[in-house]
């Protein structure tokens, strides 16, 4: 009973936190893109246009749900749910301060990566279920992209696990408190993980499954209203998970640099964690509004010919150093 109550409270808190963050992120994305293109961005609804995203969500909720007549009902219906649930569930093991986090699993990293990979199912379901060419092409691209970017992503992050000797998120951050941030030990791994994480979150320059200019809207072409909103929410939640992972694994999580962290109160830790996450998100937005989308074959070439060899070099070198120091 207690566990059930705890679970329900956790889900509600988590959902509201993620939804709020998604609202802020959409606003931030539009503002950043506008500033980088010498525009002003949303500034009409509310002070500085802050309520623009709220208005957008209300619009999406009120919209009619249109379903393609020949679409596969069940799969079509399940896809947006999974698109949001997978990154949502991944948050369970993300600790935001030393003692604050819903669950700390011993295999936390594996759990997060597994859920991150299962987002691909929602994309393939959406592409297959909506019975549309654009959606299917987007889904197939997404599958190819997942296969070629999951491998260097995991390989790049193995170096961190080798150093930390643990797969638990909390322990990895504690190790960084005892030593230094792992970005110092793993600069190459950090860059590879950043690139692969951007690809994992399906964001430009790796947004081939969506590819507005080529495939209308890619895998969610046939979705309207609330279902579309769920894909949107899922995309930003996935971005949040990616950035949380980067911060936890490489940038010391909630740790304040150059200070003894054992005496610092938890709320400062949370603030520092959020600041780091939002800086990483800004970096991803910066990428999106700077780089043009990659071509499909270039994407594959980059994944297999550049990222994977570099990730292996990084892994072998890290393993050798760890073995020698032991």
């Amino acid at each position: 009973m207690e566990i059930l109550l705890f679970g329900i409270i956790g889900v509600v808190v988590l959902f509201s936190v993620i939804a709020l963050n998604a609202l802020i992120l959409v606003y931030m994305e539009r503002k950043v893109s506008a500033w980088m293109q010498s525009r002003l961005g949303p500034n009409r609804v509310g002070p500085f246009g802050l309520f623009q995203t709220t208005a957008d969500i209300v619009k999406l909720i009120l919209k009619e749900n249109i379903r393609n007549d020949q679409s596969d009902k069940v799969i079509y219906f399940l896809a947006p749910i999974l698109a949001f649930v997978a990154p949502f569930a991944a948050f369970v093991t993300v600790p935001i301060a030393n003692t604050i986090g819903i669950r700390d699993l011993d295999m936390g990293a594996v759990y997060i990566f597994a859920l991150g990979s299962s987002v691909i199912f929602s994309i393939i379901w959406a592409g297959y279920g909506s019975n549309s060419r654009y959606a299917l092409i987007g889904a197939m691209r997404s599958a190819a992209q997942m296969v070629s970017y999951e491998v260097p992503m995991i390989t790049a992050v193995l170096g961190v696990f080798l150093i930390a000797g643990s797969l638990s998120m909390r322990e990895i951050v504690t190790m960084q408190a005892n030593q230094t941030w792992f970005i110092v030990y793993q600069p190459l791994g950090f860059i590879l993980f950043l690139i692969a994480g951007t690809a994992e979150a399906n964001r430009a320059p790796f947004d081939l499954p969506e590819a507005e200019s080529e495939l209308v809207a890619g895998f969610h072409t046939e979705y309207t209203g609330l279902k579309f909103a769920f894909f949107f929410l899922g995309e930003y939640a996935a971005m949040l998970v990616s950035c949380c992972l980067i911060v936890l694994l490489f940038l010391g999580g909630w740790l304040v640099p150059f200070v003894d962290n054992s005496i610092i109160p938890a709320w400062i830790h949370i603030t520092v964690f959020m600041i780091k996450v939002y800086l990483m998100i800004f970096l991803m937005m910066w990428f999106r509004w700077t780089f043009p989308r990659m071509r499909v074959d270039h994407l594959m070439g980059f994944g297999w010919k550049v990222l994977l060899p570099l990730a292996f070099i990084n892994l072998v070198a890290t393993g050798a150093v760890v073995l020698i120091l032991k």
């Binding site: 500033w35 980088m36 293109q37 002003l40 910066w286 509004w289 700077t290 780089f291 550049v306 570099l310």
Partner: protein, 202 residues
Amino acid sequence: MKYLISILSGFWNLLVGLGVTFKYMFKTKTTVEYPEDRKQLADRYIGYVKMMYETEGEFSSYTKCVACMACVVVCPVSCIQVTNEKHPDPTKKRIAKEFILDYVKCEFCNLCIEACNFDAIVMSHDYDVSMYDRAAMDMILVKDMKHNNDLYEESRRQTGAEYKPIISPREREIVEVINKKEYEERLKKAAAKAAENTPAQS
């Protein structure tokens, strides 16, 4: 080695690109927030045609248009209609009773303004005139020769708030200088021709 160099140079290129967008984040924005804020238009901007009125003397508030029909004749799409009446000023012959411009046809070629000898019509700086009725595009610039305030306000609303000269002073100066030179050259030519002709006659 070549492979590694190409990777490094690729990353360097990406960093340069990031630098460019970061710089642009802090530059002044080019957006003009339209209804509140308007773009600065050039003096010679061609907007909707605006009618000018006498501002002083006994006949102030009467239109400057004397219905000479120069604009009607020159208009390539025949969008101007003018009807005339006897001018109340005894020194002048006629005055426009009604001056109607059909903006559906008008192509903003500026020829009527160039043809006008009395500066009676000018190009205003107004460009955002939209209406629900096609008939409203027949804009009545003058009605009953003398403008009453309501109509004048209406015409101001429809055809632009403030008059600015279409030719900038500098340009006008250049045109005048050129005209003067041409005129002098013509005079000289005529004189030379006369001088040539006179001995031949004798």
